[in-house]
């Protein structure tokens, strides 16, 4: 399978994640453009079952079953992927830009000495192999990069492509690998579920974000209602995360998440540079702020000068009325 493009997937609660389905779709698209074979790799206690779902997107799935015990650590995944890479010699690996995906990519870089292109917002096939589009310096520039050699690891952001099922599903092959190198073990003592953690904020097409202007944890009610009405999710600034009004999983910006929804509504957010770098590539930005001179006015498409507590509930009602 020399020269193949592989999607390295992730299983959460028994199924491939949405990002993993996107990677499989992308692998198929690149494989078609480059006339190269493609495959997807899943590592987990339920890899074959999850693999059957992933194969709908086209690639054959290499399912590596590991001992039960929930989601494997990045080390367990990476050491098996590395062994498969040595055995079957693919050229390019697509890995998702999730926490686990980035860990797997970093460990693979340490094991394989391959280059990594990070933060891929789009991947096309070019005469130099995969060409990866990324937004750098907080959205000030968009770069197109390739690998120097005929191999590499691409970290792909959510929504770089839309997951599509293929006319013909791939096959699931159960593979047994013997990790040649065993990495230093990390033991999972406990896995704790937190409702607020599971916000697919990087995948959302609409985000309604609240800042210090919401005044307190209760103030997020009006933000949440508008997000629900628009079919979106709730985002936040670091100021309100630090204040404990909402969880860190919602934070957008330099030390939070980078997002690119079609619509970003910023309520009571000043638009500090550290927030801006995480959201300025959004499609349309609507800001609601009492202060007409807030920095966000400089990069919003619509700047509504007013009190968010007067605007948001009315806007929610108007959106609901239109949707019927």
């Amino acid at each position: 399978m020399a020269g193949a493009v592989w999607a390295i997937g992730e299983i959460v609660e028994g199924a491939p994640t949405r990002l993993t389905r996107e990677l499989a779709t992308l692998a198929r698209q690149l494989g078609e453009a480059a006339a190269l074979p493609v495959a997807a790799v899943l590592v987990g206690p339920d890899a074959a079952a999850a693999g059957a779902l992933l194969a709908e997107h086209g690639p054959d799935v290499l399912a590596v079953e590991v001992d039960p015990g929930g989601r494997p650590t990045a080390a367990v995944i990476a050491e098996r992927v590395a062994a498969l890479v040595r055995e079957r010699a693919p050229a390019f690996l697509l890995v998702g830009a999730s926490n686990d995906g980035k860990d797997v990519a970093g460990i693979l870089q340490g094991l394989l000495d391959w280059g990594v292109l990070v933060n891929g917002a789009g991947v096309r096939w070019s005469d130099r192999g995969p060409q990866v589009e990324m937004s750098v310096f907080g959205g000030r520039l968009v770069t197109q990069s390739t690998f120097a050699a005929d191999r590499g690891i691409v970290i792909v952001r959510p929504s770089a492509v839309t997951a599509e099922t293929a006319p013909a599903a791939g096959q699931v092959e159960r593979v047994v690998v013997d990790p040649a190198i065993e990495l230093a073990p990390v033991r999972v003592v406990d896995r704790v579920a937190e409702a607020s953690a599971a916000v697919p904020i990087e995948e959302a097409s609409v985000i309604v974000a609240g800042g210090r202007g919401v005044g307190g944890p209760e103030g997020f009610a009006v933000v949440r209602e508008l997000a629900d009405a628009l079919g979106g999710v709730v985002g936040a600034t670091r100021a309100v995360v630090d204040a404990g009004w909402i969880g860190y999983a919602h934070q957008i910006g330099q030390t939070g998440k980078s997002v690119k929804p079609q619509l970003y509504v910023a309520a009571g957010i000043s638009g500090a540079i550290q927030h801006k770098v995480g959201m300025q590539t959004s499609g349309t930005i609507v800001a609601i702020n009492r202060d007409p001179d807030a920095p966000i006015a400089e990069f919003a498409d619509m700047m509504v000068v007013g009190d968010l507590f007067e605007i948001l509930p009315r806007l929610t009602a108007a959106v609901r009325a239109r949707r019927g």
Binding site: V12, L111, V206, D301, R314
Partner: protein
């Protein structure tokens, strides 16, 4: 506990000066990477609780000194800076190799790194270093609890569905996040003391690394082109009373087919 903190000096976010189209000027105006300051704070708290010392390790040119001096003023005991002209333009792969080689010359129970950097945004270097050194790698840490007597560390790691409690043997490499806590400001006394703290300078030769294996020529990634993103037209300002303002927002969203 001996803790090494990987500290990168990055251009001030939003103030990056671009040269040759897309390269960022690193000759001035650098500050400590935000996530690195969070882990430095965590390291300082750990040595306050368990004894020991914090050493910072930086790969970066002369202008990185300001960020290093601040770390010393915050409480790090000493610093190591890897400086070599050949390093400019190195990619993540080379960076990981060089830092791993430098760590092999240091003694520690913990290595702490920021979950990612504001300029590179990759978040892969820590994992690659841990892998090269055979260290357990624990990432996206929201808390770090070592038990030096038992030779283990526990980390609360942010997961897709909440958090995981992870445990590994020391020495280990941990990549941390903002949830570790707000970094302290250097005190006046700290700033004074920092002046006499050691900043060791290491070159590639000291580390036994071939200069040809780093820098742009050895980079595994190539930027083919860089363009500014499409500019926004400038905001439509809405100042009407709430009812009218909302009508205007709705009309705007409809015109852009967003609702």
């Amino acid at each position: 506990m001996r803790i090494v903190v990987l500290l990168k000096a990055v251009p001030v976010v939003g103030n990056e000066k671009l040269v040759d189209g897309w390269r960022v000027d690193r000759s001035a105006g650098l500050e400590a990477n935000g996530n690195d300051e969070y882990v430095l704070e965590a390291a300082l708290k750990l040595v306050e609780a368990h004894g020991g010392e914090v050493v910072t390790l930086t790969m970066g040119p002369h202008p990185a000194l300001e960020a290093i001096r601040k770390a010393l003023a915050m409480g790090a005991a000493r610093a190591v800076q890897i400086v070599d002209d050949a390093l400019a333009g190195s990619d993540a792969l080379a960076t990981g190799r060089v830092l791993a080689a430098a760590l092999a010359h240091l003694e520690y129970e913990l290595v702490l790194a920021g979950a990612d950097t504001s300029d590179g945004q990759g978040g892969v270097v820590g994992a690659a270093i841990a892998t090269r050194l055979g260290l357990p790698y624990l990432s996206y840490a929201a808390s770090i609890e070592p038990d030096p007597a038992a030779g283990i560390v526990r980390v609360r790691r942010i997961s897709p569905t909440g958090y995981d409690v992870l445990e590994a043997r020391l020495p280990a490499l941990i990549a941390g996040t903002q949830l570790l806590g707000e970094p302290r400001y250097p005190s006046l006394r700290g700033i004074m003391q920092a002046r006499s703290k050691e900043i060791a300078t290491w070159t590639l030769r000291d580390l036994g690394i071939d200069p040809a294996s780093v820098g742009p020529a050895a980079s595994q990634t190539v930027v083919q082109e860089a363009t500014p993103p499409p500019q926004r037209a400038g905001a439509t300002v809405v100042r009407e009373a709430p009812d009218v303002a909302v009508e205007r927002i709705v009309a705007f969203l409809v015109s852009r087919r967003l609702i």
